[in-house]
């Protein structure tokens, strides 16, 4: 199997340092992004640490390495905007303002989980923060998200929709069916594709021809489309903001291909490079482009953040995480009767 050797190493974090007009953003605003990314990182690391206990009996898919995509994109959304996604839910739920206790309870399959233990990690739902649907079927949520956008358009809602997908999801025909409809009707939706070059252990080159770039295909279907460095939270944010504005103003749907690398195995805890489907050196290479660390370096260099504040932030997050795990573990399990509720709605 041919490996993607250090693909996409040309960009990295240069754009931060050169391009940013830092005074166009408030300091708090910039720090919030850092905090949000670090929070996702620390939460997932704690999930990983405890996963072997076999108390979270739920298939997890960690987003470590791709945090800037979640945070930069959701940062451009309003609280009332809706997000839909696939199996890799944690980053999006948390970046969208998700409740950590409800998420951890769901991973522990407790009644206090955001889906009452019926969903698990792949199925986080939480209407209160706009986490409107996630599907374990690749691309399954894309048409559904498009239908939500249709509703928003027909009844003139102020909210719009963001649909998250992986690079493999564009191989599903349903994605193109949904996109065709969205362009046809000029629906207010942003399709946000996280290209991490892999579907489970299958590299993109065994699934898609090299001469057909994802964001260009999207463009040919009539989507406003752009490709960004998915490890650069500000680049992701700025692109998302533009696209969200475009969609919200009624001009039609948009597409972002955000390139970043997944550091962990497809599912479960830890890196699985040793199994041989990717070169461990490739993971190491990509870890140079750590969205969290690079952004910290950037903020530090701009004198917007220092080691002390950073420590304070991470302590705060750690306390929150500890509390959430305790809450989850001490929450009740469902009872047999719960199995038979909500099969049908009244």
């Amino acid at each position: 199997m041919k490996l993607i050797k250090y693909k996409y190493s040309g960009k990295g974090f240069a754009p931060y340092l050169s391009g940013l007009k830092s005074n166009s953003y408030e300091k708090e605003f910039l720090i919030r992004f850092y905090r949000d990314m670090l929070r996702i990182r620390l939460i997932e690391e704690e999930i990983e640490r405890r996963y072997h206990e076999d108390e979270m009996k739920s298939p997890i898919h960690l987003v470590i390495g791709q945090e800037a995509s979640s945070v930069g994109s959701c940062g451009a959304l309003r609280p009332e905007d809706q997000v839909y996604c696939g199996h890799r839910t944690h980053g999006i739920y948390l970046a969208k303002g998700g409740n950590l206790k409800a998420m951890m309870s769901e991973l522990y399959c407790r009644t206090t989980g955001c889906a009452g233990s019926r969903g698990g990690s792949m199925h986080l739902f939480d209407k209160s923060v706009g986490m409107a649907g996630s599907s374990a079927i690749v691309a399954g949520a894309i048409p559904i998200a498009t239908g939500a956008a249709l509703k928003a358009q027909l009844t003139g809602e102020s909210w719009i929709v963001a649909a998250f997908l992986g690079d493999a999801a564009v191989e599903e025909g349903a994605f193109w069916e949904a996109v065709n409809f969205a362009v046809l009707k000029r629906l207010p939706i942003l399709y946000f594709c996280e290209n991490n070059f892999f579907s489970v252990c299958s590299p993109i080159e065994v699934r898609q021809p090299e001469n057909a770039e994802i964001y260009k295909k999207a463009e040919s279907f009539g989507l406003k489309s752009v490709k960004v460095d998915g490890t650069n939270v500000l680049e992701v944010y700025e692109a998302s903001r533009n696209m969200v504005e475009y969609a919200r103003s009624g001009k039609g749907p948009a597409f972002i291909e955000s390139v970043a690398y997944r550091w962990r195995g497809h599912g479960g805890a830890g890196d699985d490079s040793h199994t041989g489907y990717r070169d461990p050196a490739e993971v190491e290479h990509w870890q140079q482009f750590d969205p969290v660390k690079s952004y910290y370096d950037f903020l530090e260099q701009k004198n917007l953040l220092d080691g002390e504040t950073r420590l304070a932030i991470s302590k705060e997050i750690e306390a929150e995480v500890q509390e959430a795990f305790d809450f989850a573990i001490n929450s009740p399990n469902p009872i047999e009767d719960d199995l038979y509720t909500h099969v049908y709605s009244d």
């Binding site: 019926r118 048409p143 509703k151 349903a174 099969v343 009244d346």
Partner: protein, 346 residues
């Protein structure tokens, strides 16, 4: 000869009814139900390939887009899976889409959205999201429809939790069940039969509902319980009526919906007659006949005085040629012969 017309019923018929109202055709009754729903609820949508073209789905949708606008009554791209998901997403957000298909065969393209998404979301998110949508299609039979254009797939969907399945047999029910389906907060699949389309019958004006999950007697008799839905009712009634002269009478039960399935009415009747014949428009194997046969052998075994019998389609794809079609499909004579055998064997 315009074959689209040839493919619906070849003659006008009617099933006598105790209800009061005007005489309308099955198609008119459906049209009226949709118009009424669009009228009273601005959240109702009617969509599907050709719903606003001059043929208007056999007339079922005629005039609707002119009256209620192309935003609410609209043609769709040829994207069954995508549009099923889009309908689902719209429904999850409070619209009430009625998604129409010319033939059930096309639903097979959308099973992922229908079976794995629409039917399960309410359960998966612990009852927070409702999916009030109707998926309608018109079963074809004969005149060269063939293996890919006349599949009666209700048996394939019977096992799917969270779904409701409706198969009306009269204009009265076509309207009343459609209105109930639209009012229902769950995904409801309606299979209408092209051979019912030219049936005339009593249809009250205005709003009324026929409850989902409750069967009804169409004939009362002594010797046998005959259970069916949709177009089989007409055949069943003809068969039973033709046997009156021979002194044979039967309960004829119209289930109206096959999921939820009204086991009570079946068993109530069987307690009197001791014998049961199930007729269905679909394949015998693993379908509606099988479920009812098993149900009775499980729940009313001690009332059963003879082997259960089923008449559906043999385990063979639909042929396209006229001659083979005659051998393939049930008809009143075949049904009458089976009844005669069952009753006389004793």
């Amino acid at each position: 000869m315009p074959w689209a017309a040839a493919l619906i019923a070849s003659k006008e018929t009617s099933i006598p009814s105790a209800e009061e109202g005007r005489i309308l055709s099955y198609v008119e009754a459906l049209n009226e139900a949709l118009a009424l729903a669009l009228e009273i609820d601005p959240h109702v949508l009617v969509l599907g390939q050709g719903v606003n073209d001059p043929k208007g789905m056999f007339g079922v949708t005629t005039g609707l887009s002119a009256k209620y606008g192309n935003a609410r009554v609209f043609d769709t791209p040829l994207s069954e899976e995508g549009m099923m998901g889009i309908s689902t997403g719209a429904a999850m957000n409070g619209l009430r889409p009625v998604y129409l298909h010319n033939r059930p065969d096309f639903l097979l393209l959308a099973f992922n959205q229908l079976v794995t998404h629409a039917s399960k979301i309410h359960f998966m998110d612990n009852g927070k999201t409702k999916v009030p949508m109707v998926v309608w299609s018109a079963i074809g039979r004969g005149w060269g429809s063939g293996a890919q254009h006349s599949q009666a797939i209700q048996g394939l969907l019977l096992g799917v939790p969270g779904l409701k399945i409706v198969m009306p047999s009269t204009p009265y029910d076509a309207k009343g069940l459609m209105l109930s389906a639209i009012a229902d907060n769950n995904p409801v699949v309606i299979f209408d039969h092209r051979w019912c389309m030219r049936q005339n019958g009593v249809v009250p004006e205005g709003m009324y509902q026929v409850p989902l999950g409750r069967g009804v007697y169409r004939r009362n008799g002594r010797d046998l319980t005959l259970v069916g839905t949709s177009h089989t009712l007409e055949m069943a009634i003809n068969a039973v009526d033709s046997l009156e002269g021979e002194g044979i009478t039967a309960d004829v039960i119209d289930l109206r919906t096959i999921k939820p399935l009204d086991g009570e009415i079946i068993i109530e009747s069987l307690k009197r007659t001791g014998k049961i014949l199930v007729v269905d428009t679909g394949w015998e194997m693993g379908g509606v006949c099988a479920e009812i046969g098993c149900l009775v052998a499980e729940k009313a075994f001690y009332d059963l005085k003879a082997p259960i019998k089923r008449i559906g389609l043999p385990d063979v794809p639909s042929p396209a040629g006229f001659t083979l079609e005659q051998f393939y499909y049930p008809n009143p004579e075949k049904i009458a012969n089976v009844i005669r055998e069952m009753v006389c064997k004793q």
